[in-house]
């Protein structure tokens, strides 16, 4: 798809990585998003495991604000905790082992 190719060639550079040379907790998200858009879920999970719950969090937040689900706040809260654990856990693993 053309817009994914365009997106792949126009990644935003990470300011933290440019400054200190190490990955930040958000590094890998764009590559994982492109992989997910190409249908490669496994590669997306390997690149950035917090992307899928992150996207679910954003989409569910918008839907919850529109439709006001009964347990929407609790689902958002637990999704947020899972996303945080995955994002910072992935960052710590990259920081320690790579």
């Amino acid at each position: 798809m053309s817009w994914i190719d365009w997106l792949e060639n126009h990644f935003l550079s990470c300011p933290v990585k440019e400054a200190i040379g190490q990955d930040c907790p958000g590094c890998g998200m764009q590559r994982a998003f492109v992989a997910l858009m190409r249908g490669d879920v496994w590669l997306s999970l390997k690149l950035y495991p917090g992307l899928i719950p992150f996207l679910f969090l954003i989409i569910f937040l918008i839907l919850h604000l529109i439709f006001k689900f009964k347990n929407g706040a609790a689902i958002l809260q637990y999704t947020f905790i899972g996303t945080s654990v995955l994002a910072f856990g992935n960052w710590l693993i990259k920081l320690i082992f790579f």
């Binding site: 990470c14 300011p15 200190i20 954003i58 706040a73 947020f80």
Partner: protein, 190 residues
């Protein structure tokens, strides 16, 4: 000035007094009964201003009290129109949606040194504490849905604030380490 007479004489009493069986508790001459010179001390025209309104209001008051005296609610329009809303309708906790969005945004912006996440987390936490204090003061006046949103946003803001602060401290320490090592290299080189 205290003994100065009012420039206009007080108006005559109303021709028909509906408060025949009722003592003049809200009579236009009430001020004159308690302190006849009060109007002369403060404002000579005060008594003259009170009396014409008193003549207009007092017969209506008498009509409300005397003919319907046995009824507890003679005039429903005298009720506070907002009194029915204290238990009937509920409103949202203030800034509940903003708290939820800012709480979630505190972790979304983790890539920017944690500064934006720190700001979002602090803003969400301050608003959440204020909103939840209002909710605790009167829980029945707010909707449960908005309370859940504000509470979830507060928890998200606390988590995002802690993680952003830790990451910011790490970046600052790393910058300090890099600066120290760079200056050390510079010292060795020169």
């Amino acid at each position: 000035m205290d003994n100065q007479n009012p420039p206009f004489p007080p108006p005559p009493p109303p021709p028909f007094d509906p408060n025949q069986g009722n003592p003049n508790q809200q009579n236009p001459n009430m001020g004159n009964q308690q302190n006849p010179n009060m109007g002369n001390q403060q404002n000579p025209n005060m008594g003259n201003q009170q009396n014409p309104y008193g003549q207009q209001q007092n017969p209506n008051m008498g009509n409300q009290q005397n003919p319907y005296g046995q009824q507890q609610n003679p005039n429903p329009y005298n009720q506070n129109p907002y009194a029915q809303n204290t238990f009937g309708t509920q409103r949202d906790v203030p800034n509940a949606v903003a708290i939820l969005i800012l709480g979630i945004a505190s972790i979304v912006t983790c890539w920017c040194y944690g500064i934006i996440g720190l700001g979002c987390g602090i803003a969400a936490l301050v608003m959440a504490n204020k909103a939840l204090n209002e909710y605790k003061a009167n829980p029945g006046a707010f909707t449960q849905q908005s309370f859940k949103n504000a509470n979830a946003g507060r928890i998200c803001a606390i988590i995002g604030l802690i993680l952003s602060a830790l990451y910011l401290i790490y970046v600052i320490v790393l910058f300090a380490f890099i600066g120290t090592s760079m200056s050390g290299l510079g010292g060795l080189r020169f």
